[in-house]
Symmetry: C3
Subunit: 143 residues, 3 copies
């Protein structure tokens, strides 16, 4: 039932190396990982982890990413007394919760062979662990 | 590599005019913006801004949208002492955070030429700024 | 305009029966509901409700799902004094808010005829009501 359409999908897995805890602008990295984009389409970006996330936000002023870190660390605090899942470190359970609050995948439009983001929109890779190590993303383009 | 499939994608950019801060039901507006929908497919709705969002929620009782506003303003307060990104107004940094917590794009199924939403599901446009001005959305239908 | 492509889409509606309030691993249930998956593609999972959600998170230790419940019940408390939408029970308005914070649909990649999730990623069905009853999900595969 899935015959005849596989030429319209381009899929690629990439590895991010050791980002530190925080919010990192990876728009250029994503665009450079893709050889080309179709005239029209969508790009799905999927993070293959449960303590990291992906979102879109302000691409200009680094203070926005700084404040993301401060606020979300406060909103989902490491010292929360109700946590029972604590054996993997105090940063682990908050990281799981943030991953589901922020999300682990996004789907964005492609128009005229470019990501059709707003002027101020950039792609944030969100590393919620202190030492997350390398992270894998799956990029899928539909055209 | 992207040849031969562009006839299955319909893409359209629309502009929303000056919604006030809060949560606004735009299901009809979205449906009316689309000339037609395929028998089966998906619709991706992307907000091209970093201080507005889109989500699905209760389409009947306006008190739900009212309570969204009250609760989220409290959850991400303007007076939060940790914010450093403050030059664009006290409503700016909370708006960025809400945009990533609620999300800026959704992908919903199309079945029998209609959005396949639940009985009580409507599309909320979420304006997080006091004066956000006009806002652009990209609609992409795959069939 | 939508001719000639409908053979690449498989769409199915499934019903989940009476999950109790909390976070439930449904990866196997989803995979079993699909007859087959394409070599490459995406799967969109859409929850047709405004007081339930879907997300990806840790698939191994049940304590993560337990802590999700504790923390999110605390983050969006039933007793919040600002709620005006209270006629459907004290668990209703928090459920609406959680549905938009966690999200009601996800789109995940398919590679080599399998969901391309990370080793530790599972699909969580999130029941936010005390007695949510049966719940409908729409699964759409693009290939």
């Amino acid at each position: 039932m899935f015959s005849g359409s596989q030429d319209m999908i381009v899929q690629k897995e990439i590895t991010l190396q050791g980002y530190k805890r925080g919010y990192h602008l990876i728009t250029s990295l994503i665009v450079n990982a893709l050889d080309s984009m179709p005239e029209k389409g969508i790009l799905n970006i999927h993070v293959k982890h449960t303590s990291a996330g992906i979102t879109l936000n302000e691409n200009a002023d680094p203070s926005v990413r700084y404040d993301f870190n401060t606020f979300l660390n406060d909103m989902v605090p490491e010292g929360y007394s109700g946590f029972t899942h604590t054996t993997e470190g105090s940063d682990d359970m908050p990281a799981h919760l943030k991953a589901s609050i922020i999300g682990q995948n996004i789907t964005v439009p492609i128009t005229n062979h470019c990501l059709n983001l707003g002027t101020w929109q950039g792609i944030y890779f969100c590393e919620f662990r202190n030492y997350g190590g390398s992270r894998k993303l799956v990029l899928t383009i539909y055209s």
